[in-house]
Amino acid sequence: MKILVPVKRVIDYNLKPRIKADGSGVDLANVKMSMNPFDEIAVEEAIRLKEKGVATEIIAVSIGPAKAQETLRTALAMGADRAILVEAEDVEPLAVAKILKAIVDEEQPGLVVMGKQAIDDDSNQTGQMLAALWGRGQGTFASNVAVDGDHVSVTREVDGGLETVKLPLPAVVTTDLRLNEPRYASLPNIMKAKSKPLATKTPADYGVDVAQRITTLKVAEPPVRQKGEMVASVDDLVAKLKAKGVVA
């Protein structure tokens, strides 16, 4: 079966974002961008399923600016077979899910594996929305994925522990951090990735309206905590905490 892996180009997770002075958003000019960490885990999982003989082809998809090509090349260098870039800026999860649904209809994958959330908008919606539009089961926050015939068993990280669900294929799986450790692309594979096929499309090709439903009125710094004080000893600390009334 084919596996579809949506990936997103986001600000590198090590960077602290700078907020524009006019409060219109986060300054992304000249900032290092990378593949969303959860998506790297998704690509890795798809490759492992191919290595196990479960998957036959891996298609990486990104919906974003022209530069998202770099993100797709990274996925290809890791081991994806081909890529689709849908060029559009600032697309909300619902529109992304609609575009992915159109791609799913075209490609007929047996499984979609994607990150549980993007570290820029922190929405945690797209996978669930795709599953809804597609009318298929969803295995969100996966820490283990096992394909067995026409089903997939997904162990999910939930608040009280680990939950396992079984979904008939095709299905949507979203990855959590502990699913796997993504591999690095080797230099020869990075070179090879340059010649792998990458198709470029637009949302209009799929008949999807990407007009935003949510308007961002303002982006601001979070309230700054008042600088605390350093204490010299444990005794000092205990005294301060008692004075503050947070410990008895």
Partner: protein, 309 residues
Amino acid sequence: MSVLVLAEHNDGALSPATLATVTAASQLGGDVHVLVAGGSDGVAAEAAKIAGVAMVLHAGDASLANQLPENVAPLVVDLMAGYDAFLAASTSTGKNVAPRVAALLDVMQVSDIMSVEGPKTFTRPIYAGNAIATVESSDAKLVMTVRTTAFENAAADGGSAAIEAVSGGADAGLSSFVGLEATKSERPELTSARVIVSGGRALKDAATFEQLITPLADKLGAAIGASRAAVDAGYISNDHQVGQTGKIVAPELYIALGISGAIQHLAGMKDSKVIVAINKDPDCPIFQIADYGLVADIFTAVPELTEKL
């Protein structure tokens, strides 16, 4: 404005996350109804007592027992014909169900709201809490998840809402529940604890983590948290993880031991009322946000602290 709130529950008990979600729902104005999907009669009775709840809808169909989103979402979508907004807590259940509801209603979900600024205007954290966005929805119906630590809990007593049985719900045949491996703990639940003692990579191994953190947590009646590094290193199970990818907490007292304070961890705890950090590196970022910082070796300072409290 009429608002439908998804009750958060398991094992026949209502979770406090529901109370904070009801508070957020009340701030929208209008009637607040709570949907108990798959819970026992006891859960519905508990929900009916929450102050500010006008009605409880109880859907007891067997297919809803484990709150699988494939079965719950269609039920919610049917009910939404009579409501203007659907709210769920930003928990693993809420985050699983709500976007599925939103897509079926063809609306964009507003995730993890921290405040209600107007009928359709909300604030929410982005970039791991490094920025707060004020957003306005233009959709006809609102679907939102609520950051429970950002809202006070509604009073669990004092309400006397009517309970109405809802017949909807059916097995969509898209998923089945296999099992839950629950983490057993007699400690307070992490997201609702008054005090949290949290450990990081510096704890060395699982045995040391247990040895150092547990007595202090016992002494304070605290929940135990951990950084991602500690979880990845296997010191403790991942449902103790505090951070962007773990749980968001806001206790009265958060004690960070051997945690450097990476942005992904801070995103989960920087709204705590008092933060205490003990770390031997004076330059680590956790000291930038700690109310009280102590530069010391945790292996000597923590036992001393435990003893002196």
